[in-house]
């Protein structure tokens, strides 16, 4: 899967989970950049991403993420 595909799929998940049609995310996007992205929605997002890509993140990986790019690296390593 191309990195762009991963990004666009993640973007879809963010739109659906955070219920914000206009949301555009990039590799550098961080939680502080998105209003609805808080500690609770974070859990929903990661569960939705796990489901979408049929993978499981380890608890350490989840703690290490700084931005979307980190999440994408993690996904790339698993698919």
């Amino acid at each position: 899967m191309e990195r762009n595909d991963i990004l666009s799929q993640i973007n879809e998940i963010f739109i659906d989970t955070l219920d914000n049609e206009e949301l555009v995310i990039e590799e550098a996007t961080q939680a502080t950049d998105v209003d609805e992205w808080d500690s609770l929605t974070h859990i929903m997002l990661l569960v939705a991403i796990e489901k979408n890509f049929k993978i499981r993140f380890t608890s350490t990986e989840i703690l290490s993420w700084k931005n979307i790019g980190d999440i994408m690296n993690c996904i790339e390593g698993k698919i």
């Binding site: 989970t17 500690s39 859990i43 608890s59």
Partner: protein
């Protein structure tokens, strides 16, 4: 698993709750409960509940419960949820275990219960413990009283015993939910480690559903009546076509699925749920298995209202409602046929009409998972309800009244496609010819070979009718074979129809078309015949009802004076 996702439920929060019934709910947990809060609030919308939820801070159960001046009591909740998790239980056990662990925990729960009862009038919902097997003793833990699994199960058992005598305490059985869906789905390990969540995002809708089922019952709304279809719901096969020996119950075919379904319904009846029958059948035919079939679990004395006719089911359920005099919102309608389910949903939105799986083998597991019959009380008197309604049923049945049939038929938007027999429909025509018993005027059986001969003969004219309506496609449902008797007369050699489309005016539509055909081809008469069989009593007056003149054993229609009979089916162009 429950078909709503957490995200869907969360979106309900944006809806307008203001018209819904308000209740105040307090949630106290020893793990993170924010998601549970969101799920219950959001799903509450679908239960017509506007829940005002107060959530205790993380792990504050004793602080809030034992202090009479706490925020919990200031909030004056109608309902209090206490959620003590198995993971916290295990942590406690890890520090101090032994034979009396469960008992000590139970004492703590009893203290919580008594403090809540003394300080408020709320109903209390307590989540029981999902099983964790730490496998320290392996399977042998079943023999070691001090093992965690032994103590946890003992605690769940003691909870049941205690709640049996504590009238304001209801157990929400999340342990059963884990059995149903599996621990792998209920528990998401990284969410637990990073966020102290002991329930996965995916299971929250189901837990919220069970919690709300209890709350709904507490607020006085619960299902009181189950209405059953018969063919392929209560037994396998079609009684009118297959006959009493061939319907599947007991050991015949997949009869076990239906026998076990009936046993479940019987248990509901013994608990006080009213059973009604609503079937498209001739009444005498539908009743026969209840009286004579040795493998039928349900008997006539179990049924409060028995409705078998060819009217539409929405009207029949209105009739049942009138007899029982209970709300539509307390009725559950079980039918394998999606068309019937949709008709009832559309006309009676308050009736609970669950989807049914295609395979009857799945019926019971599916119905278990829906938790349709939540209640908050049970007494022996509940069991005697059936008799009372049976008497009532006799009284009301004479005053049955239907809603406007024409409006109903119009609303179906029926369209029929008419074709002569062709290679595509020959197999279906032959199959129907073999199987159709009830709406079959002469019951002459034709095989595929016979049909092909008929097509190739100049003496016969063939018609097949499909029917579609706004709910779906019923496929080929009526077959006519006309035989040229003389220069002036067409004889209806074959007229059969699927009983699924009775009472739709299909026979009128068909006759209009036949007369039209006769006129165009210069015939003067159409002649019909009814040959009686044990199963086709339904159509004994078919030709007289349509305006044919009886002439000894035949029925004659003069096409010249015929005026189209009104119906609500359009011809597909």
């Amino acid at each position: 698993m429950y078909n709503k996702s957490f995200i869907q439920i969360k979106k309900n929060l944006k809806k307008d709750f203001s018209a819904l019934k308000k209740m105040k709910l307090a949630i106290l947990g020893d793990s993170s409960t924010q998601f549970l809060n969101t799920a219950i609030k959001g799903l509450g919308y679908e239960y017509n509940l506007n829940l005002d939820i107060w959530e205790a801070d993380y792990d504050q159960i004793p602080l809030q419960v034992f202090d009479s001046y706490s925020n919990l009591y200031k909030f004056k909740p109608d309902l209090i949820i206490i959620f003590k998790s198995s993971h916290k239980l295990l942590q406690k056990y890890n520090l101090k275990n032994g034979f009396s662990f469960a008992e000590n925990q139970m004492e703590e729960i009893k203290d919580i219960h008594s403090s809540l009862s003394n300080n408020s009038n709320s109903k209390i919902i307590f989540y029981n413990y999902t099983e964790i097997n730490d496998t320290v003793f392996g399977n042998f833990s079943n023999k070691v009283e001090s093992s965690f699994l032994f103590q946890l199960r003992k605690l769940n058992y003691q909870l049941m015993e205690f709640s049996a005598h504590a009238s304001n305490l209801y157990i929400c059985d999340i342990s059963s939910i884990q059995n149903q869906i599996g621990k792998v789905k209920l528990f998401h390990t990284s969410s637990y480690i990073n966020n102290s969540m002991v329930l996965s995002v995916d299971v929250l809708p189901l837990i919220a559903k069970h919690t709300l089922d209890i709350i709904k019952a507490i607020s006085g709304r619960f299902n009181k009546c189950i209405i059953l279809d018969l063919d392929n719901t209560t037994w396998g096969g079609i009684i009118g076509d297959d006959g009493i020996e061939k319907i599947q119950i007991g050991d015949l075919g997949i009869g076990k699925a239906f026998s076990e379904f009936q046993l479940w319904v019987k248990k509901l009846k013994n608990r006080g749920i009213i059973i009604a029958i609503c079937s498209k059948n001739t009444e005498s035919v539908a009743i026969e298995p209840f009286k004579k079939h040795p493998d039928m679990v349900l008997k006539m004395e179990d049924i409060s209202v028995f409705v078998a006719n060819w009217e539409n089911k929405a009207d029949n359920i209105r009739h049942i409602q009138k007899v029982l005099n209970i709300g539509f919102d307390s009725m559950v309608f079980i039918d394998d046929n999606p068309f019937e389910r949709n008709i009832v949903r559309e006309n009676l939105p308050d009736v609970c009409v669950p989807e049914m799986p295609e395979d009857p083998a799945d019926y019971l597991e599916h119905l278990y998972s829906l938790n349709l019959f939540e209640t908050i009380s049970y007494s022996n008197e509940d069991a005697d309800r059936t008799k009372k309604y049976q008497i009532e049923s006799k009284r009301v049945s004479t005053q049955k009244k239907y809603t406007n049939e024409n409006d109903f038929l119009k609303s179906l938007e029926m369209v029929s496609n008419i074709e002569s027999f062709n290679n595509f429909n020959i197999p279906r025509v032959a199959q129907l010819s073999q199987r159709s018993n009830q709406f079959n005027l002469r019951t002459i059986r034709y095989t595929e070979k016979d049909i092909i001969k008929i097509i190739n003969s100049n003496d016969y004219f063939t018609f097949s009718f499909n029917l579609k309506d706004k709910f779906g496609d019923h496929g080929l449902i009526c077959v006519i074979i006309l035989k040229q008797q003389s220069e002036s007369t067409l004889f209806i050699d074959t007229w059969f129809m699927s009983c699924r489309v009775l009472k739709r005016g299909m026979e009128r539509f068909v006759l209009n078309h036949l007369v039209d055909y006769a006129k165009k081809n210069n015939f003067k008469f159409i002649e019909g015949e009814y040959i009686k069989t044990p199963k086709n009593n339904l159509v004994k007056d078919h030709y007289s009802d349509l305006g044919f003149e009886k002439n000894e054993t035949y029925y004659i229609l003069e096409v010249q004076n015929y005026k189209d009979i009104k119906n609500y089916i359009k011809t597909k162009k």
